[in-house]
């Protein structure tokens, strides 16, 4: 049996809320990586692909496709719910009606145990820093030289204490770290966290603050200020800005030009255009929420190429989707 290199005995061990861990992640930073999704986000982007990670609480998901109420009259969950939040639905597509307001404050999740089909599942779980480090310790054998851990969400900085603790541990263990953040945090939090990050993706969804607020719920001044502060600091990491391309929102030439101008002003050169996709659709349903973008189509490649061209012409290294040099 191989020996662990970690300190022996009880160390201070913070707990964080995590809604997914993916290994062999190849599009979220250099090399092969392990991708950790932390719950909670200060933004409310209408197109969000991970709605189960918006709030920092253990939400219950109801996966309609798994429910066998309609085919086999199963009602095992209904009497088990202490909040009487589940009832038979009259709707055609949804077998059970869930009173999500009642669900909101539930911490016991009886429905999860009651359902044999795993239609009810908790969206997240709590993990200690040490538990996460154990996974990294295992996975690092598979990353190769360039890989490492990437923290995503939600927005990982939403749980800054836990995140910083993990990042410090990673640094001690020589693990390369990457982060995917909105940048909407007090500057001290932002810069302190970044001290322990090797590679950062910071979203920049619109250069116009009012428009930014309209679709994400927050203005962009703080975000721009943080990016500028980081870019102009002595931080040795690599900062790549990025944004999903949202039809009719940020897909204009003008917005691209404004982005390029801002980037030149702070000395940044790399921008990653991400195609919008609808993969989050079923997750919105599972959370009992309506997906405002359920009717939107995936960004056509021509559109992405056109925007890439605009940025390239302005001297910005623009990458599309996963076609990046890292």
């Amino acid at each position: 049996m191989a020996r662990s290199l970690s300190p022996i005995g009880v160390q201070q061990d913070l707990s964080g809320r995590i809604f997914d861990i993916q290994s062999y992640s190849v599009h979220d930073g250099p090399g092969c990586r392990t991708l950790v999704f932390l719950s909670g986000c200060p933004l409310r982007c209408e197109w969000c692909a991970n709605p189960e990670g918006l709030e920092n609480r253990v939400r219950t998901l109801f996966r309609v496709m798994k429910c066998i109420n309609r085919t086999q009259d199963c009602t095992r969950c209904i009497p088990k719910c202490p909040h009487q939040a589940i009832s038979i639905s009259d709707e055609k597509e949804i077998p059970l009606a869930i009173d999500w307001e009642k669900c909101r404050h539930c911490e016991s999740h009886e429905c999860v145990d009651a359902c044999l089909q795993e239609a009810f599942v908790p969206a997240s779980r709590d993990m200690k820093v040490s538990e996460l480090m154990k996974i990294f310790d295992r996975d690092r054998h598979y990353w190769s030289g360039k890989g490492g851990a990437t923290f995503s969400g939600g927005d990982p900085m939403y749980q800054k204490d836990f995140l910083q603790a993990v990042l410090k541990e990673c640094r001690n263990a020589y693990i390369h770290t990457a982060i995917e953040t909105s940048g909407f945090f007090p500057q001290e939090t932002y810069l302190t966290t970044m001290k322990y990050v090797d590679f950062a993706f910071n979203d920049l969804k619109h250069m116009d603050s009012d428009k930014h607020k309209e679709k994400t719920g927050v203005p962009n001044e703080l975000i721009l200020a943080n990016i500028a502060a980081l870019a102009q600091s002595d931080w040795p990491g690599r900062l790549v800005l990025r944004s999903p391309v949202i039809e009719g929102f940020n897909d204009s030439k003008e917005n691209m030009a404004a982005i390029a101008e801002f980037m030149h002003s702070v000395g940044l050169t790399e921008f990653n255009l991400l195609p919008f996709h609808r993969l989050g659709d079923s997750k919105w349903k599972s959370c009992g929420m309506v997906y405002p973008y359920s009717m939107y189509e995936a960004t056509p490649p021509e559109k992405l190429e056109a925007l890439q061209k605009v940025l390239l012409d302005l001297g910005i290294k623009a990458y599309v989707g996963s076609d990046t040099p890292f």
Partner: protein, 904 residues
């Protein structure tokens, strides 16, 4: 002018490849587009795709006639004369555009039955012989292997063509010949004679029941007695057939009448040399017939280019019928014909060419240096070689061909590895072999990389690129792990480190011993690798681990066939350990009865149907004057024990341990009752799909098994880095990898274990009740030996790898991991590098084998619905690549259900 990303990057002093530690090989950059084969190869491949498997009686008729006429002669010589007659009477067929010529038969895709091995199974269904065969145990694999259920490669009766054994077409007027031939061997074939003697083994009744219950998949002594080994081309390549005949004549002169201290088989050498000489003469004539045919065609050909090609063929065939090949093309033509000769002497699948990029290197190097050939010409030849190798059919029963092999013949070509002096062995010719694998995508030869950390990055990335083209090859084998296994297993027979480095893969992933021979060409010397061991995957074939566990729960009684298969244990288990002990006890009973009975079959085979072709090829038969059966080969400890369904067994044992003995949530009786009642579900064959997700509840089900089924499904599973589950695997492997030492093959050598499923996870799953891991009755087991059960590996590839490497793979001949990746996960050059990272990391952790299916599941599902649109879609099954439409429905369902790693 618009600026491109690369321009901007260049300005900043960055290149797209900068991150990779050096520049990527030049070819890679413009290789994202899949190239096609040369026009010539594409045309030849197209003929293959439109050709049905055909059977002929030409060879067996002449073999039988001469064999019978020589009654009373020494068996070796009798067989030598018969084989000679067979080769001499094969009608040569040459197709326009062919650069390489020759085939097993006169057909493009032909094969023939060998009633002297087993005469029962190829008889038409209505024949009484077939009916009789059904009644005995060995036919049960046929019953559950619906060959061709996948939609393709079934030859139905039409016009003057009669369908035979569910797959092959035979001319109507030959059916009577076939039947007559078969009748002549009733009671005399290896199968029948072996059967007579195996019944004298006291444990025979158990063996019979074990076969019928499909605890074991098939007998090896008469179904496919050779194969899963690596051929050796050295002798003909070095000496030419004239040289070999001379060696035989010298051998005769030296050994006739002289035992040389060996009072038992010393005198046999004379007969061996005489028999080999006869076969060599037959093979020469067979070559010359092709030369004659080429001349005949040239005489009437009007197209000048084609006429010249026929003339070239005539010259080549005439030359290699006698002498050492002079150039690359002749060398390739020779090894191809050697291969055909080898697979025509016996029912053989998995006779692997081995490391031909290193074997053919001397000719390639000298031709290139002299400017006699271009790389484009080499590539075209290699493409033609791929088509030729893909045309090899193997005639065996439906259970073997469909159930086990999925119609594949496993002609594995290995690349990479190390040289005799420990340097990376990959060479430029191997780069072209990879290229041909991409440009001419066919099932044969399948490619394997002997992965070693020393191999150059450019070569490894080229292999990844080939993998990414969606062919499923190359598979990746751990060179270091293979060498360790070879040293351990063949050390007692004198294996040293240098020769251990000559190992290669026989069949899909059978690590096989090799040897270096020094070849001289135009005064320059080269060490070339080649096989030096007996067939592997002979002995105990495919024990269904979940079925053995089922026997423990049902007191040895098989409910599917209503038979007491194993002696009742009549135990009530108080602890998990007691139950596990019984499991191992049953396992030993199963192995034991299969070892003794198969030893008898193989003994009859070596006495009545001894190898002569392969015997003159492999060291050290020609030197010793002994064929395989007299241990002429250098390495003889090749008999193994194979299993299937390991992961279902591990998950089931964990659930029994946890739910019954630790948590005491259910009694063992309650669990067994749920399994017998299939958790309230219908049987898989009623549904017509064999994957778990498609199963349906019985109409009368009252939900009484819902809770226990959910508990079985929701529990911890292998593949998630959970020590409690993985510990069960590690404990089993520790026992299993050592269990072969207890048994002795007919060559008085210990057994070892081999862990791959090939296609047995479908038919053996079909014969197994529901299992405690929640798998339903009749559904397919997890594929390979290290793949997780579909959908149960929920923590990603790294956790799966961690589970898989919890034991020492080098104690086993192999282990097998199949991974399905979405094409998105490996896009672009960065994607290639990341796929190499993934592969390399698994190898470094000690995994023996990994292979990838880079295909979208949606495509596979569509291909099930519209097979006609996907005639050339290739998928990786379990150790081999096969055309999607040529594999059975249960395996198709299993491949679709495999967890898809998207990496997005």
């Amino acid at each position: 002018m618009a600026r491109k990303l690369v321009d901007v990057l260049e300005e900043q002093g960055m290149s797209l490849n900068l991150q990779a530690g050096g520049e990527a090989p030049k070819e890679m950059v413009d290789r994202e587009v899949k190239e096609g084969a040369t026009e010539r190869a594409a045309k030849l491949k197209d003929i293959y795709l439109q050709t049905l498997s055909s059977v002929t009686c030409e060879f067996p008729y002449w073999y039988n006639r001469v064999f019978q006429a020589n009654e009373g002669d020494i068996m070796e010589v009798r067989r030598g004369r018969a084989l000679k007659a067979g080769f001499e009477h094969l009608t040569p067929s040459i197709y326009p555009g062919e650069l390489l010529v020759g085939a097993k038969t006169q057909y493009y895709r032909g094969s023939f039955p060998m009633p002297w091995l087993s005469e029962g199974f190829f008889m038409a269904k209505e024949d009484e012989l077939y009916q009789a065969a059904l009644a005995s145990g060995s036919a049960s694999a046929d019953q559950v292997s619906a060959y061709g259920a996948g939609g393709g490669n079934v030859t139905e009766s039409f016009g003057n063509v009669v369908s035979i054994a569910g797959k092959y077409g035979i001319r109507k007027d030959e059916v009577r010949v076939l039947t007559k031939l078969a009748r002549e061997w009733v009671g005399k074939s290896v199968d029948d004679v072996g059967h007579r003697y195996e019944q004298m083994v006291p444990e025979y009744p158990i063996k019979e029941a074990v076969m019928r219950s499909l605890i074991c998949m098939f007998d090896s002594g008469y179904t496919l007695p050779q194969g899963r080994e690596v051929i050796n081309y050295f002798y003909p390549l070095q000496y030419g057939y004239d040289g070999l005949i001379k060696m035989c004549e010298e051998g005769i002169a030296e050994t006739a009448g002289r035992p040389d201290g060996d009072g038992i088989i010393g005198m046999s050498r004379l007969y061996f040399y005489e028999a080999v000489k006869l076969v060599l003469e037959g093979i020469q004539t067979w070559h010359l017939h092709y030369a004659d045919e080429a001349k005949r065609l040239a005489a009437t050909e009007k197209n000048a280019k084609q006429k010249k090609e026929y003339e070239e063929i005539a010259e080549i065939m005439e030359h290699i019928a006698h002498k050492q090949p002079r150039n690359f093309r002749e060398a390739l033509q020779m090894i191809y014909m050697v291969h055909m000769a080898s697979v025509n002497e016996d029912a053989i699948s998995g006779m692997s060419p081995g490391r031909i990029g290193q074997v053919l290197w001397p000719w390639f190097e000298q031709d290139m240096e002299a400017g006699r050939i271009t790389e484009a010409e080499v590539l075209e030849l290699l493409e033609c070689y791929r088509v030729k190798m893909t045309c090899i059919d193997c005639f065996a029963s439906m259970g073997v061909v469909g159930g086990v092999l999925s119609g594949n013949t496993f002609n594995n070509v290995c690349l990479g590895g190390l040289t005799r002096d420990g340097q990376p062995a990959a060479n430029r010719l191997e780069m072209l072999l990879l290229e041909a694998g991409m440009t001419c995508q066919t099932t044969q030869p399948t490619l394997s990389v002997l992965y070693d950390d020393k191999l150059p990055e450019e070569f490894l990335l080229k292999a990844v690129e080939c993998e990414k083209s969606g062919t499923g090859y190359p598979a990746w084998m751990n060179n270091r792990g293979g060498i360790e296994f070879i040293m351990k297993n063949y050390g007692p027979e004198g294996m040293n480190l240098e020769d251990a480095r000559a190992f290669s893969i026989g069949g899909c992933l059978e690590t096989s011993p090799g040897i270096w021979k020094e070849l001289e060409l135009n005064g320059k010397k080269y060490w070339i690798p080649g096989g030096a061991g007996q067939p592997t995957s002979v002995g105990v074939h495919f024990i269904s681990n979940p079925k053995v566990l089922e026997m423990v729960l049902t007191n040895g009684y098989d409910r599917r066939i209503d038979l007491q298969v194993l002696p009742p244990h009549n135990k009530t288990f108080k602890t998990y350990e007691e139950l596990y002990e019984q499991f191992l006890e049953y396992y030993d009973i199963v192995i034991d009865c299969l070892v003794t009975t198969n030893n008898i079959q193989h003994d009859v085979w070596r006495k009545h149907n001894m190898s002569l072709v392969n015997s003159f090829l492999k060291p050290d038969c020609l030197a010793k004057g002994q064929h395989i059966g007299n241990m002429g080969y250098r390495y003889n400890a090749t008999y193994n024990i194979e299993d299937t369904g390991t992961i279902n067994m591990v998950n089931s044992l964990y659930n029994i341990k946890k739910l019954v003995f630790e948590d005491k949530k259910y009694t063992l009786e309650e669990l067994t009752d749920a399994l017998i009642n299939n958790f309230g579900f219908k049987n898989a064959d009623e549904i017509g799909s064999f994957s778990l997700e498609a199963q349906e509840k019985r109409d009368d089900d009252d939900g009484r098994y819902d809770q226990i089924h959910a508990d079985c499904l929701r529990s911890f599973k292998y593949g998630n880095d959970i020590p409690e589950v993985d510990g069960i695997l590690a404990e089993f492997e520790d026992w299993y990898c050592g269990c072969g030492d207890k048994y002795e093959s007919l060559y008085a050598k210990p057994f070892y274990v081999c862990q791959m499923s090939v296609s047995t996870h479908a038919p053996q799953g079909a014969a197994t009740l529901a299992s405690a891991d929640g798998r339903l009755s009749g559904t397919t087991f997890a594929d390979a030996s290290m793949s997780a059960y579909p959908g149960t590996d929920r923590n990603g590839a790294y956790a799966l790898f961690e589970s898989a490497t919890c034991w020492d793979h080098s104690r086993s001949q192999n282990s097998q991991m199949n991974l399905k990746l979405h094409p998105n996960a490996v896009k672009g050059i960065e994607g290639s590098k990341k796929l190499l990272d993934l592969t390399r990391s698994y190898m470094r952790k000690g995994g023996f084998h990994i292979q990838f299916n880079i295909v979208d599941s949606k495509v596979l599902k569509d291909a099930q619905k519209h097979p006609n649109n996907y005639r050339d879609l290739l998928v990786r099954v379990a150790g081999f690549t096969q055309y999607w439409v040529e594999i059975g429905k249960p395996i198709q369902d299993e491949v679709v259900a495999r967890t898809e790693y998207e990496g997005v």
